[in-house]
């Protein structure tokens, strides 16, 4: 039986009149990578802060690695690593000093060895005495990831780990995260990049308006919500409007897809509901995301 690394039950969190987390129930078994997928403002970052004790729930129960939060937040943080959405490295300080400070904060017994391990992981051995300010964006993200791993945590919280990075650097980070998953670290990764969730997550939870609205393995979610096939129709606005009306008349879901429309579940279409010129492709997690959240994916 798997042991829950993270358990949230009926969690609410409001900021004034804005409800960021609205009765959230979420369980993350140990040893998996769960992708928390949702549009901006869905409540992903607030959920992450609730899990570190940097936000206190108005209601509900939170348990992380067997520790009840917020009372035992410090003990929970000792066993988890966090990679924040926004870079919060000390920019004037050297790479190795950034790591050494956090090795001390995490009470790692052998600070020197932890720094070397961090430098290896971030592949920054050659830049160890450079100020962080001199590093590229990708190097800084690798350093942030290494900083969160100095104490060999059982759980990693990755909050939009590759946001704003170019595709090549994103791929480098994905391989680092994939390595962690392979070694058995539990990972909760919030993202609004569909491809990131598809590539890394064992399971995906789609979050919108502070709640989980769907959860499962990517293939299961696709089969359940988007069927097998999606047809993309391109053309002038009037043509797109006609195609949408015909498809919707047959009960098919239609979503915007940039300059086109995407008819989801196209394999069920009858009597020309999908125009001949439409491009058919396998249904994707992006179709699920847009259908469920009503937001364009990235």
């Amino acid at each position: 039986m798997s042991v829950g690394a993270i358990e949230l039950h009926g969690v609410f969190k409001s900021f004034g009149r804005i409800t960021a987390v609205d009765g959230l129930d979420l369980e993350v078994p140990a040893g998996i990578c769960l992708g928390l997928l949702g549009p901006n403002g869905a409540g992903k970052s607030t959920t992450m802060r609730l899990l570190t004790g940097q936000a206190i729930a108005d209601r509900g129960e939170i348990e992380v690695l067997g520790h009840e939060l917020p009372a035992e937040a410090k003990a929970a943080r000792a066993e988890m690593g966090v990679v924040p959405q926004l870079d919060n490295l000390d920019v004037d300080v050297t790479v190795e000093d950034n790591l050494a400070v956090f090795a001390r904060l995490y009470r790692v017994p052998d600070v020197k060895a932890a720094v070397e391990r961090g430098l290896d992981l971030a592949r920054l051995q050659g830049r160890r005495r450079d100020a962080v300010d001199e590093l590229s964006g990708g190097m800084r993200r690798r350093l942030l990831l290494a900083r969160g791993l100095l104490h060999r945590p059982r759980l990693m919280l990755l909050d939009e780990p590759t946001v704003g990075l170019d595709p090549q650097i994103r791929t480098q980070l994905w391989s680092l995260i994939d390595g962690l998953r392979t070694e058995g670290t539990t990972i909760l990764m919030s993202t609004h990049y569909i491809e990131e969730a598809e590539r890394l997550a064992d399971e995906v939870a789609v979050m919108a308006a502070g709640k989980i609205i769907a959860r499962g393995r990517p293939a299961e979610l696709i089969a359940e919500h988007a069927g097998q096939q999606t047809a993309e129709v391109y053309g002038p606005p009037q043509r797109l409007a006609e195609a949408r009306a015909t498809a919707e008349a047959q009960g098919l879901a239609v979503r915007p897809a940039g300059p086109a429309i995407a008819i989801v579940g196209a394999e069920r279409a009858r009597d020309g509901a999908v125009p001949e010129e439409a491009i058919r492709r396998a249904a994707s997690l992006e179709d699920v995301f847009v259908l469920l959240t009503g937001e364009e994916a990235e």
Binding site: K13, F15, T46, R49, T52, G53, Q54, A55, I56, E72, A73, K74, A75, R77, A78, E79, V82, P84, L86, D87, N88, L89, D90, V91, D92, V93, T94, D97, N98, A100, V101, F102, R104, L105, Y106, R107, V108, P109, R117, L121, A131, G148, L149, H151, R152, P153, R154, L180, E183, G184, T185
Partner: protein
């Protein structure tokens, strides 16, 4: 890299864990190494300028002796308090605000097993140590201008340290209470400058109106000024009360700072 819980479980999760506090201080030290030259330069030069302007300028032309001291000695010993407040309250105010708002440093620290109380305590202690050191510079400069060394001077760093703890906590609490950095102007104008002026640094407070004398007596900076002068020229029994006032000020401000920062940093 995963699955080594023993390393984490071995650590202490107690309140005010020294390892957490020294960890926070080690971050400050790492940063300080990048700007210590500029800070030291201004800490040395500033008292020299003040002593030239007030001690020698005013002292040679208008005032010769005050309370039985050469004016340059009077100002030089008083300047210790000025150095302490400017190297504690102001760095705490601006540093805390910048780290919280712009650098997001506290988000990083509080994601580690460190709580707000340890964070505030570590930052206060570091500022206290720094100000304890820089607070002695005016005294050293005044010696060049003729102040005789005295054994009591050896405890001046400790007086500076305790005073700086209180003002560091004051600065942290202020930073945690304002929404814009411009609002520090109100604090410097309405609080820091008056405290600095009624500390007895440049003139004895017994010449002030009675109301201001009362304010001066509860001003921690005035207590520090008196303690430093007595350390140089002979302690008095009432100095124990002055030390108690400084310690009480530090403790009260510490609790206020922890409270304000908790409100600010924990949603």
């Amino acid at each position: 890299m995963s699955g080594h819980p023993a390393e984490a479980e071995a650590m202490s999760i107690r309140r005010l864990d020294p390892a957490a506090i020294t960890g926070v201080m080690s971050r400050e030290v790492a940063n300080f190494r990048t700007f210590w030259k500029a800070t030291t330069f201004s800490s040395v030069l500033e008292p020299v300028v003040y002593l030239l302007a007030f001690g020698l300028g005013l002292g040679a032309t208008v005032v010769n002796r005050v309370d039985g001291l050469e004016y340059v000695e009077f100002v030089g010993t008083g300047m210790v308090a000025t150095a302490v407040i400017f190297s504690s309250a102001l760095p705490a105010m601006f540093g805390t605000f910048v780290k919280e708002r712009f650098q997001r440093t506290y988000d990083a620290i509080l994601a580690a097993p460190v709580d707000v109380e340890e964070l505030v305590t570590g930052e206060m202690l570091w500022i206290g140590i720094r100000a304890g050191f820089y607070g002695c510079f005016p005294l050293l400069v005044t010696m060049i201008f003729g102040l005789d060394p005295a054994p009591g001077m050896l405890v001046v760093p400790a007086f500076c340290f305790f005073t700086a703890l209180g003002f560091a906590a004051f600065g942290i609490a202020v930073a945690a209470s304002v929404s814009k950095i411009d609002q520090f102007n109100y604090v410097t104008t309405l609080v820091i400058t008056p405290l600095f002026l009624v500390a007895g640094t440049f003139f004895p407070i017994d010449g002030l109106p009675e109301g201001l004398q009362v304010v001066a007596q509860v001003n921690p900076l005035h207590q520090l000024v008196e303690l430093v002068r007595h350390a140089c020229f002979g302690f008095e029994a009432t100095d124990l009360i002055r030390i108690a006032v400084l310690v009480a000020f530090a403790v009260v401000m510490w609790r206020i700072a922890v409270r304000r920062m908790s409100t600010r940093l924990i949603d």
